[in-house]
C-alpha cells in the first residue's frame, strides 16, 4: 500500500509523537477505505450478476414462447380432430376480427348493476374521465367490463384509421415525453404523471409499448392509456411492443389478470338467457376480445403475410449491440441484433437523428449506445425484483438535447441499505437459477457424468461451467456464480451433485420416474397455455382423451423422450379425474420446487 511521504506533507515543526499518531491514523483510514471500496465493488457486481441472471432467464423463456408459437402451427397440422370438432380453436389461436357490428351485440350482453360503485365513463370522453379513472384506480377500484369494452371498441376504431407511422411536432415550449415499458406497474405510471404532469395538448407523450404483462395492473394501465388516447389522439401516441400479443399475454400474466379480475368478480353477470352461440361469445370476452383490442391489424393468418409477420417480429424483438452488422437474436429466439453501422445507415437513409426504443430492462432506466444515436428507455422500475432497477422517461424537443428523469418506486419509506437490497435480489436470482437447474437435473447429470471419467463425483471448474452453459442454454458467469450453487473442494474441484441437494421437485406421486416429473415441471408454463387454449369453455377441465393426445403431440414436437404409459399412469394416479375429465390446473400445480431452507412450502406460487 502506498503511504505518502510524511516529509512532503509540510507538517512544519510538529512533535514526533503527533506525526506518529497522524501517520497511524492515516494508515488506518487507508485500510478502511481500501477494504470498503473492495466490498462496495463486490456488492455492485453481485447486483449486476443478479440482473444478468434475471435477464438471461427472461430471454430464454421468450425463446420458449416462440417455440410454443411454432408448436401451435404444428398442432393444427397434426391434431386431426380439430377442424371438425373445434372450429373455435383455430380462431382462438390465431385471433378473429370482431367487426364493429358486433359491438352492440357485446355491449347488449352486459348490464351494469346499480350496486356498481366503480368509475363511470361518459362518452365522448374528456379529460375528466382521465382524472376519474386515475382516482378510482388509486382506490383499487375495478372498471366495469361494460366500460372496458366501450373503450376497446372506440380505441380500435380510431387506431384502425391511423397509419403505421405518426408524425408529430415539438418545440422548446412543447416538449414531448417518451416512456418505455410499463408492464402493468401502475405505481410507475402514477409517478410519471405526478412528476411530469398528465397528458394534454401542451404535454404530449409517447408510450413505447409493453404496457401489459408481469405487473398486476395491466388492465388499469391500458384503460388509462386508451382513454387518454381517445381524449388526445394527436398528443398521446401509443406504439406496439412485443407484449401486445395474445400469445405473450397467455404466458406472461395479462390473460390471467383479466380472468381473475373479471370472471371472479362477476362483472359479466347474467341473468341473460343464452343459447349455445352466445355462451361461446360470452366466455371469449375474458381473453380474446381484450387482446384483440390491442391488435391493430387483425389476425395474422387472415391479414398478414408470413413476410409481414417476420417484419413485425423484427421491429418488436430486436436489440442494438456493439458488433457491426445484423445477425439473429439468439438470446430471445426472435428478431435480430443490429450494430452501429446499421443504425447509421438507416438513420441517414431516412434523414433521422436518433432512435428511441425500449424492450430491454436497464439498471438506470435508460441507456445510450451507438454513439448517441440509439437510446433505450425503460419505465418499469423494480422490474425483476424490488431494487433491481430504476425506471426513466425522456423529455425532448427539436433542437435540444434529451433530458432524462429517473425514479424508483419503493415500498419502504426509506431505502434499505444497499447490501440488504442486493442480498434480496441475489437470493431471488439464485433461487430462479436453482429451479432451472433442478428442472434439467437428468440432462445435467448425464452431461456431468460424461466428463467425469473416473466417476469421482467431481469436475474441474471449466468442465462444470461448460456443461452448465450447454445444457441450460444460459450465457452466465458460471465461475463467479459457482459459490452460490455448488460446493468446491480445496483443490478447486466441484462436487457436481451438491448443486441439487437443497432443492427438489415435489413428487405428486411416489412411484413415477424423476425424469417425467422434471419434464412436466420444466414445461409447466407451456402446458398450461396449451391446455387453456383447448379448454374451450374455460371450465378448467378437459377430457382425458384431449389431455393425452395433447401430451403426445407436445412430446413429439418438443422431442421429449418419455414413455406414454408413464404419463398416463401419472394422470391416473393423481386422481384428478372427474368423470373422464381432468382438472389440468390442479395437475400442473402439483409440480413445484421445494427449497430446503424455505419457510414457505411452495416456492412457485406464480402458477396459482
Amino acid at each position: 500500500m502506498n503511504t505518502p511521504n510524511l516529509e512532503d506533507m509540510g507538517c512544519g515543526t510538529s512533535s514526533a509523537t503527533k506525526d506518529k499518531k497522524s501517520e497511524k491514523a492515516l494508515k488506518a483510514a487507508l485500510v478502511i477505505q481500501n477494504w470498503y471500496r473492495g466490498y462496495s465493488a463486490r456488492l455492485k457486481t453481485r447486483q449486476r450478476y443478479a440482473l444478468t441472471i434475471f435477464q438471461s432467464i427472461e430471454y430464454a423463456d421468450e425463446q420458449g414462447q416462440l417455440q410454443l408459437s411454432n408448436f401451435f402451427s404444428f398442432m393444427l397440422e397434426n391434431y386431426t380432430n380439430v377442424p371438425e370438432k373445434e372450429p373455435g380453436l383455430v380462431t382462438r389461436l390465431f385471433g378473429s376480427s370482431i367487426q364493429d357490428k358486433d359491438r352492440q351485440d357485446y355491449l347488449g350482453l352486459i348490464e351494469i348493476p346499480d350496486s356498481y360503485c366503480g368509475p363511470r365513463l361518459q362518452f365522448p370522453l374528456t379529460f375528466t374521465d382521465i382524472d376519474l379513472l386515475i382516482e378510482a384506480f388509486k382506490q383499487q377500484q375495478i372498471l366495469h367490463a361494460y366500460y372496458v369494452l366501450e373503450v376497446l371498441f372506440e380505441t380500435k376504431k380510431v387506431l384502425q384509421q391511423m397509419p403505421n407511422f405518426t408524425h408529430t411536432n415539438t418545440s422548446p415550449s412543447k416538449e414531448i415525453t417518451i416512456c418505455g415499458d410499463l408492464h402493468g406497474k401502475l405505481d410507475d405510471l402514477f409517478l410519471i404523471f405526478y412528476k411530469n404532469g398528465l397528458p394534454s395538448v401542451t404535454n404530449p407523450y409517447v408510450f413505447n409499448g409493453d404496457f401489459v404483462d408481469r405487473g398486476k395492473n395491466s388492465m388499469e394501465i391500458l384503460m388509462i392509456l386508451f382513454v387518454s388516447f381517445l381524449v388526445y389522439p394527436n398528443d398521446l401516441h401509443l406504439n406496439r411492443g412485443n407484449h401486445e400479443d395474445f400469445m405473450m399475454n397467455m404466458r406472461y400474466g395479462f390473460t390471467k389478470e383479466i380472468l381473475h379480475k373479471y370472471k371472479m368478480r362477476s362483472v359479466l353477470m347474467p341473468p341473460i338467457p343464452m343459447d349455445g352461440d352466445r355462451a361461446e361469445k360470452k366466455n371469449k370476452l375474458g381473453t380474446a376480445t381484450v387482446a384483440l383490442g390491442i391488435r391493430t391489424s387483425g389476425s395474422f393468418s387472415e391479414q398478414l403475410t408470413k413476410q409481414e409477420w417476420e417484419q413485425v417480429i423484427d421491429i418488436l424483438w430486436s436489440d442494438p449491440r456493439g458488433k457491426r452488422g445484423c445477425y439473429p437474436n439468439t438470446n430471445r429466439g426472435g428478431g435480430c441484433y443490429f450494430g452501429p453501422d446499421i443504425t447509421s445507415k438507416i438513420l441517414n437513409k431516412y434523414q433521422l437523428k436518433m432512435l428511441v426504443r425500449s424492450h430491454e430492462c436497464k439498471p438506470e432506466g435508460y441507456e445510450i449506445c451507438h454513439d448517441g444515436k440509439v437510446i433505450t428507455v425503460f419505465s418499469a422500475s423494480n422490474y425483476y425484483e424490488e431494487g433491481s432497477n430504476r425506471g426513466a422517461y425522456i423529455r425532448m424537443s427539436s433542437g435540444t438535447t434529451p433530458r432524462f428523469f429517473q425514479y424508483q418506486i419503493t415500498k419502504a419509506t426509506c431505502f434499505r441499505p444497499l447490501y440488504q437490497r442486493v442480498n434480496a435480489i441475489e437470493s431471488s436470482a439464485i433461487r430462479m437459477l436453482k429451479e432451472r437447474m433442478i428442472s434439467r437435473k437428468t440432462d445435467l447429470i448425464r452431461a456431468f457424468q460424461l466428463q467425469d471419467r473416473n466417476k469421482s463425483g467431481k469436475l474441474s471448474m471449466g468442465q462444470w461451467a461448460f456443461s452448465m452453459e450447454n445444457v441450460l442454454g444460459l450465457n452466465l458467469p458460471w465461475r463467479s456464480l459457482s459459490s452460490h450453487l455448488v460446493t468446491t473442494d480445496k483443490d478447486g474441484n466441484i462436487d457436481y451433485m451438491s448443486g441439487f441437494q437443497d432443492v427438489h421437485i415435489q413428487k405428486p406421486v411416489k412411484e413415477v420416474q424423476s425424469s417425467l416429473i422434471e419434464t412436466v415441471y420444466r414445461y409447466r408454463s407451456d402446458l398450461q397455455i396449451i391446455f387453456n387454449i383447448i379448454d374451450s369453455d374455460h371450465s378448467g377441465l378437459i377430457s382425458m382423451e384431449e389431455f393425452r393426445s395433447m401430451w403426445r403431440l407436445f412430446k413429439s414436437h418438443y422431442s421429449v423422450h418419455i414413455d406414454d404409459s408413464q404419463f398416463d399412469e401419472l394422470a391416473e394416479r393423481m386422481d384428478l379425474n372427474k368423470d373422464g375429465s381432468i382438472d389440468f390446473n390442479e395437475f400442473l400445480k402439483a409440480f413445484y420446487v421445494v427449497h430446503k431452507f424455505d419457510q414457505l412450502n411452495k416456492s412457485d406460487t406464480k402458477l396459482a
Binding site: 502506498n2 487507508l30 477505505q33 455492485k44 471448474m461
Partner: protein
C-alpha cells in the same frame, strides 16, 4: 519432468484466470463489443478479489488505456494485465483482524465505537478520501441510528457474514 508439470499447471491456471477475467469483464460489457466504460474497471478488478488502493488503480488503468484515452477499455488490453495481477497475487485483500485493528486505532479510548462525525472526518479527510456518495453509502449500513455511532466490531462481523 518437474518443470513440465509446473508449466502445465501454470498453463491450466492461466487458462482458468482468462476465463474468470472474461466473465467478470462481460458482465459490464453492455454492448457486447469487448469494451467497458473506464469508470467500471475498478469495480471489475475488485470483483476478481483484488484490493488495489485508488493510487494503484489509477496506475493499472493507465496500463490498460489506449494511447489516446477513449473512455473505454478494450478486453484485449485488459486481459494480459489482469492475468499478471492474478498470477502474482497482487493487491491481496485486507484480513478481518487488520481491519478491526484499523478501527481500533481511530478509537484510542477503546469505546468500541466511532461517532458518525468522527467516521466522516477520517473517511473524507484522511488517506484516499471518500466521495460524498461513498460516505453516505457506508453510513447507511454502518450507522446505528439511535446512538448515531458505528459499532465497528458488529459492523465488520455483519459485512464478513454477508460476503460469505
Amino acid at each position: 519432468m518437474a518443470d513440465d508439470r509446473d508449466r502445465d499447471s501454470t498453463e491450466v491456471a492461466v487458462a482458468e484466470f482468462h476465463k474468470k477475467i472474461k466473465e467478470a469483464f462481460e458482465v459490464f460489457d453492455h454492448e457486447s463489443n469487448n469494451t467497458v466504460d473506464v469508470r467500471e474497471v475498478g469495480t471489475i478488478i475488485r470483483s476478481l478479489g483484488c484490493c488495489p488502493s485508488e493510487g494503484e488503480l489509477h496506475d493499472l488503468i493507465a496500463e490498460v488505456e489506449e494511447e489516446e484515452p477513449t473512455g473505454y477499455i478494450r478486453f484485449e488490453k485488459f486481459l494480459p494485465v489482469m492475468t499478471e495481477v492474478l498470477l502474482e497475487r497482487r493487491y491481496r485483500p485486507i484480513p478481518e483482524d487488520i481491519l478491526l485493528r484499523a478501527f481500533e486505532v481511530l478509537d484510542p479510548a477503546k469505546r468500541g465505537f466511532l461517532s458518525k462525525d468522527e467516521l466522516i472526518k477520517y473517511m473524507t479527510e484522511e488517506g484516499e478520501p471518500f466521495s460524498q456518495e461513498e460516505m453516505e453509502e457506508m453510513l447507511s449500513a454502518a450507522i446505528d441510528p439511535e446512538s448515531n455511532s458505528i459499532h465497528y466490531k458488529d459492523y465488520i462481523t455483519m459485512m464478513v457474514i454477508d460476503e460469505n
